[in-house]
Symmetry: C2
Subunit: 428 residues, 2 copies
Amino acid sequence: MSTLRPALLTDHYELTMVSAALRDGTADRRCVFEVFSRRLPSGRRYGVVAGTARLIELIRNFRFDEAEVDFLLRRGVVDEPAAAWLRDYRFTGDIDGYAEGELFFPNSPVLTVSGTFAECVVLETLVLSVLNHDSAVAAAAARMVTAARGRTLIEMGSRRAHEGAAVAAARAAYLAGFGFTSNLEAGRRYGIPTAGTAAHAFTLLHDDERTAFASQVATLGKDTTLLVDTYDISQGIRNAIAVAGTDLRAVRIDSGDLAVIAQQSRELLDSLGATETKIIVSGDLDEYAIAALAAEPVDMYGAGTAVVTGSGAPTVGLVYKLVEVDGRPVVKRSEHKATIGGRKIAVRRHKPTGTATEEIIVPQGVPDRQPNDRLLQRSYVVGGEAAELPTLEESREHLRQCLISIPWEGLKLSAGDPAIPVTVVPAA
Amino acid sequence: MSTLRPALLTDHYELTMVSAALRDGTADRRCVFEVFSRRLPSGRRYGVVAGTARLIELIRNFRFDEAEVDFLLRRGVVDEPAAAWLRDYRFTGDIDGYAEGELFFPNSPVLTVSGTFAECVVLETLVLSVLNHDSAVAAAAARMVTAARGRTLIEMGSRRAHEGAAVAAARAAYLAGFGFTSNLEAGRRYGIPTAGTAAHAFTLLHDDERTAFASQVATLGKDTTLLVDTYDISQGIRNAIAVAGTDLRAVRIDSGDLAVIAQQSRELLDSLGATETKIIVSGDLDEYAIAALAAEPVDMYGAGTAVVTGSGAPTVGLVYKLVEVDGRPVVKRSEHKATIGGRKIAVRRHKPTGTATEEIIVPQGVPDRQPNDRLLQRSYVVGGEAAELPTLEESREHLRQCLISIPWEGLKLSAGDPAIPVTVVPAA
């Protein structure tokens, strides 16, 4: 599977800065860049770090080939010395950061990239593109998983996202606890279980609904899901059971007042003896719609648009800021966008019961550790060499544990403060 | 430049439907699928078709290689007959649709894909991914262009979008009238002018602001933009002019109350003799923020998050529905999601002055043409062969003309009805 070459997924100014810094001798100053968000998206109580493994893989392939350098020279983006530097580029610095699947809050130092100014600055756009997108999807997906209260979720939003973003979105949703995706490339690239059976088009293609159902069952067996709302839902359910028998695995309903229809469908299925046949609902479901169906006889939810677009927050506002030069903290001082200088170490503090109480961030120092503190940063890249990455399943389990650890108010869907406070503590 | 192989950017159910349809003999029925939206995103008065040329190129490369087919067999998505069919797949049907850059409204038949059921159904996800994403960005960008009233816009939102989506977003923003993008890959792939100079990190890297400015001017010349808000904006402007002289091209301000700061900055620049130095503002600008700066001395806007995320509407709700089988119109009848059967022809009706008054859609027939009607569909693919596509510049000009043609109320940023009504007229 070919993927995008990452080197030009970069903003113009990163390379003009490299040109200027090479010329004035500052390109090799040791720098620390930090990824953090100033605030969570409106109403959210936590963020979810996602995309880190994808990012580290892209950085590993971050090289400028001759055609790319030629383009940059022709356009006047870089001069010859910068072009020569780009031809030899590979990242030789260090990257530390939160685990994929970790929660984050305002000012959490989600990722720390250190090395020379030039080698770090060119990664800005790629780092932010990956983390902002994947974290937005993962956070929305995590809220849906909470709202689903243990019922299975299927991600089916590929059609509502850019075709490449769709694959990453499927991964982020799975990380957050979704059980399946409809996206085949996500199945292949990341090993995520894929699911799907038929669209309304399949029913319309056939002379009548029963013929369509019979064809589907003949090919896919009774362990399939029949889409029963192309014409009349009650008749669709009767047709489904007439064709497949009472051991049909599931019916799917994609339209109408899902609460009412789920109840009526359950009653009808039961009356037909199909007491084990599951009900899958879909159609513009977000975390609130899912929560509203909690009391209804629904077995599985299909979510599309809302999950792949971050359910109102399609980006999480992560920024990539220079915080240290040659060991000195640096800060931008303009209003509203002030930063906290210096490399930071972060721990999450917990009660002995395991409930998180606070995140402690120490710039240019080490936190005074308490017994139930957990260090939040791990090493991803050392001297340009990537460490072994957690598997997607491990990151998924990590997020599941993190969500168990925050105070219950933190899981509420309503707007509220961050689930735990973040305290920036000056080093001792 | 390698791009994603498109064949698996597809939903699981499309291939299970192919399996079943091949087995029951319906796979070769002649079908017409139509792309349309049931409604515009909340508050919007028009949609903008974007991504069509990108899509046609992806469809041209839509083939299943051996590794992809193996994956599908191993996962049980397809059976052997379907696998054999996929190995030979290439689209041999027809694709008609609105021009890229055309406006659309609820029920506009934006794209029509015809061929056998199986060859058309597998394109559903890819078609919708591309058009939903690119059209969302283009519509937001077009509103910003209107709000900017002739001032130049720079797209700088790559960091707030998936890394692949960012490239397509830059293209869609340029289509809509933006003048530049920060995204280098968009510059290379689509020939879009790129722009950018320096981030706050560049100033922070240096020992002081003047040194940073001097370095930038030494490398990029005076025809550059100095970012003056790292510390104190007034002092930043004084430093900029002290270093570059009064023929500095531009200063950029990325924070604070931009209306007030633009005025103060203009006065200060003028008082320093830099009357020709431009002011570029950026920082969470959307169409409303841009409109609010109309009276201020701003020369150029940088827009990021809002444009790449569709400014509140990250997808435009285009769907891909089967409307005709073997010449018969077909319709889904379930509530709220009814479709209009049959292949449709669309024209836009205009006053003699050129102002659009109505869109006329005729299912299974040809509109009764009036003198100022414009046929909205063109042919993209005939018998699997793609026609020559308009250039991006041509599509950009097409949109510009379309926006001139709609009634002025249609350009208002406030919520309202679609700019022109869409009338579905039964064939004579």
